[in-house]
């Protein structure tokens, strides 16, 4: 075996030991992002191909899962969002928080009770599938994959403040969708002004 072949075999062995074990995690992450099995499988295959081709740039000892998530999210954006206009509304933290709290405070107690009564699982899954980028990735990373703001920032390549802003806005959009879902399901009429029913 030549030295070059030997290096390649060693690199492949490291890839098998450090990257491949995260295939299930990358698949679940891709599934959360795409909400579609066929698309998730495409994302996983492309992610591992890119990772393999770029394996020489991987820093040994760093977080391979985080590295793979970064690639997977980029693949997802390229596959899914190609040609689609992204909503790049980067609200300031204060503005977002103010809007969120305004909504929370204007919501009557009955709406909280209403959302507690409906089965949130299917409704949230559906709402996540309709949530636009860049909010969906932030919500999936922090709320579904339980990543810290710092880890999500590294994966997304943005500052922590941007993660927080996207996350809070994404959650607010999800809550608005759930209220619409509850209304459509006949649980209650929407109360856009927040006035008590």
């Amino acid at each position: 075996m030549t030295e070059l072949e030997n290096d390649r075999t060693e690199a492949d062995a490291r890839f098998e030991q450090e990257a491949v074990p995260w295939l299930d995690d990358v698949y679940r992450f891709a599934l959360s992002l795409t909400r579609n099995e066929a698309e998730a499988e495409d994302v996983v295959q492309e992610t591992f191909l890119r990772a393999y081709r770029s394996w020489h740039t991987y820093q040994p000892g760093s977080d391979a899962r985080r590295w793979l998530f970064t690639i997977a999210r980029n693949v997802f954006l390229r596959v899914r969002e190609r040609g689609r206009r992204q909503v790049e509304l980067e609200d300031g933290d204060v503005e977002t928080l103010a809007a969120v709290r305004e909504q929370a405070e204007s919501r009557s107690e009955s709406v909280d009770a209403l959302l507690a009564r409906i089965d949130l699982g299917p409704a949230i899954g559906d709402a996540l599938g309709r949530l636009q980028e860049p909010f969906r990735s932030a919500v999936v990373l922090v709320d579904v994959e339980d990543q810290s703001y710092e880890a999500a920032a590294e994966i997304l390549g943005v500052p922590i403040g941007t993660v927080r802003s996207r996350l809070f806005r994404g959650r607010r959009l999800l809550q608005q969708m759930l209220l619409a879902y509850a209304s459509d399901a006949g649980f209650a009429a929407p109360s856009p002004s927040g006035d008590p029913a």
């Binding site: 295959q45 709290r101 949130l120 919500v139 579904v144 999800l174």
Partner: protein
Amino acid sequence: MTERTPRVDCVSALKELWDFLDGELTPDRLEAIRQHIDICSSCFPHYDFEKTFLEAIAATRPGCSAPDRLKARVEAALREAGYSGRCAR
């Protein structure tokens, strides 16, 4: 009695509620917000709702593993790129 942590009122508790639920506050601040929420009849329902909401999002996490056919497919694609290892077990 001297307070060891900064005072928390309803405005600051609600403003920091998601950071609190995400565990993104300092231990002192986390404890201060927790103490406020525990005793505040106004903030607790907000906390309870947001907690339920976040738990519902977390529950959407797929529990499945990657299908074997996907592992075989990834392995085949990697082999075409020169990979000599395995993906499927």
